[in-house]
């Protein structure tokens, strides 16, 4: 239920992964470069499907867009210390899963301001941390864990190699058995031909 996009009064219907739909104002949607590129000029019939993201995530993303409609044009990332109280509350009330979903949705919708704020927030988690602490933040395996994992993998590879060798041996034996009748057949034919040739030469 959509139409010409220029007016901020126009509402667009957004469809989430659950198939639910909800309204978003044109002004809020226009902060998404993905939307601008896809629908702004041609309009959309029926709900706009953003079905890779659930309703809660999309609502959170568009809540941000609705709020920042009246803010001045985006001019590069803002430091977290310069964020308004509303912005800080917006980020603080999200749990980690929701935060990750919001980043992914914001990245897909190409909402520059929101993506940048989220990324700055993650960068803050890494700031002032040494390498080991950073590894924990980004949940990478540590050097010891990697070594242990490598040992397990080596053991697995060795075991798999043994199994493969055994299988190859078995297959070789089977092949020899299967080949016997054929060899016998060839030999018989050869014998017959030799005999025939010999009798011919005797004549």
């Amino acid at each position: 239920m959509t139409s010409p996009a220029s007016s901020s009064e126009v509402k667009y219907l957004i469809e989430s992964s659950e198939g639910n739909t909800f309204d978003v104002s044109g002004a809020a949607l226009r902060q998404s470069n993905t939307f601008n590129a896809m629908f702004l000029n041609i309009g959309a019939d029926g709900p706009i499907p953003f079905t890779d993201y659930n309703e809660a995530t999309l609502k959170k993303v568009f809540e941000y867009c609705e709020h920042s409609v009246n803010e001045e044009n985006y001019s590069g990332p803002k430091h977290q210390d310069d964020l308004s109280k509303w912005d800080l509350n917006f980020f603080n009330e999200m749990d980690q899963k929701m935060f990750i979903d919001v980043i992914n949705a914001s990245n897909f919708l190409d909402i520059e301001r929101l993506t940048s704020y989220c990324c700055e927030r993650i960068a803050r988690m890494l700031r002032g941390k040494n390498t080991q602490e950073m590894i924990k933040v980004i949940t990478l395996p540590t050097a010891e864990e990697l070594e242990a994992k490598q040992k397990v993998e080596e053991k697995k590879a060795a075991a798999a190699k043994k199994v493969a060798e055994k299988a190859a041996e078995t297959a070789e034996k089977t092949e020899t058995l299967e080949e016997l009748p054929v060899q016998q057949l060839v030999q018989t034919t050869r014998n017959k031909l030799t005999r025939k040739y010999l009798s011919f030469s005797n004549e």
Binding site: I103, N104, T115, S116, E120, A123, R127, N130, I138
Partner: protein, 346 residues
């Protein structure tokens, strides 16, 4: 939070918010994080090894001289390492036991990593630079800022782009040894304020392309006349008028073929009339013969130049040498002597 599972644009955006020192530590996390940092669009820049105290080396990125951005401070003081839990950092060129702390005010990471012998330390410093070249696209030519007391800790290289010499215990052999070991390809900046300057009595630095001396009262006339640089800037000079006249005469006779700019800020005052009346000069037309300076001068002498350009000189004139027709402008004020060779023939 599994940052590395995000789409490329997201973690690229995250990394853009990190300082070089933070990116360096992030690149140590894994091969993938190293690849991510390496893939970022780094502005190619130079780096500098700063050695101004014992058992510590700063590695900094530097776009403008004297405006270093320290990426990591490396401390190999063994005593302070005792009893502290170390961690293992493993990357392509680096695999070591160490610990990392942060300086309180600047948040600069301090890498505590002791090596018993000097050659290991030199190898480590060289490896760190190789790593920075590969991951941060740092330009391979090294630069040093050091007190010559710690010269033995410098990384393995034969050529150095720029060198800044800090105050040091006076040891003339150290200077000659330094210039025997390293070929300075661009600039030498002596920042020492001591009368017993490390360069005093050395003749091995006279042919460095760009020579900038913060204090030059130790420079004697014979050393001065042996200089063969492209650009020579000296502050706090005690050279007499006759020395400056001898230098110009030498140039007029055909020596100092590489010279572009020579600037002397005198301690004892300059009599402009005596100098200029000594030569047969013609008037200088700034509209036709413009002063153009090389990059190192802009980088190292920005402040001096700014002051000089905005100060009215007492007298000026243009000299021409007969052997090749080259011309040079002499500009003089009560304390300044500026000799600028015009490489476009008039």
């Amino acid at each position: 939070m599994r940052i590395l599972n995000f789409p490329y644009l997201v973690y690229d955006n995250i990394l853009k918010h990190l300082e070089p020192s933070e990116l360096l530590l992030f690149s140590f996390c894994s091969l993938k994080t190293r690849a991510l940092v390496s893939r970022m669009r780094h502005t190619p820049t130079h780096s500098i090894f700063v050695l101004d105290r014992s058992e510590e080396m700063n590695y900094a990125l530097v776009d403008q001289p004297e405006k270093e951005e320290i990426v990591i401070t490396w401390n190999w003081e063994n005593e302070k390492m005792g009893g502290v839990r170390t961690e293992r950092i493993k990357a392509k060129y680096i695999d070591l036991e160490c610990r990392i702390t942060f300086k309180k005010n600047s948040n600069t990471p301090v890498l505590w990593c002791s090596f018993e012998n000097q050659s290991s330390r030199k190898r480590f410093a060289t490896s760190l630079h190789s790593y920075m070249c590969e991951v941060f696209h740092v330009k391979p030519e090294m630069q040093f800022k050091l007190s010559l007391d710690y010269m033995d800790e410098l990384p393995n290289t034969n050529t150095v782009r720029d060198v800044t010499l800090l105050d040091t215990n006076f040891n003339p052999q150290a200077v000659d040894q330094f210039f025997d070991n390293f070929h300075v390809t661009r600039a030498l900046f002596s920042k020492s304020h001591r009368l017993n300057n490390p360069l005093k009595n050395s003749i091995k630095f006279h042919r460095v392309n760009n020579l900038f001396l913060n204090t030059s009262c130790w420079l004697n006339p014979s050393q001065f006349l042996e200089m063969d640089c492209e650009n020579l800037v000296m502050a706090e000079s005690s050279l007499q008028i006759r020395d400056l006249i001898s230098f110009v005469n030498q140039w007029l006779e055909g020596s100092n073929t590489r010279l572009k700019t020579m600037y002397v800020l005198s301690n004892i005052g300059i009599d402009a009339d005596t100098i200029l009346d000594h030569f047969d000069s013609s008037p200088w037309n700034p509209e036709v013969d413009k002063l153009e300076y090389n990059k190192p001068i802009h980088e190292y002498c920005e402040k001096i130049w700014h002051d000089f350009i905005h100060r009215e000189e007492t007298r000026n004139g243009v000299l021409e040498r007969k052997c090749d027709g080259l011309r040079a402008i002499i500009r003089l004020s009560t304390a300044q002597f500026h000799f600028h060779v015009l490489h476009n023939k008039g």
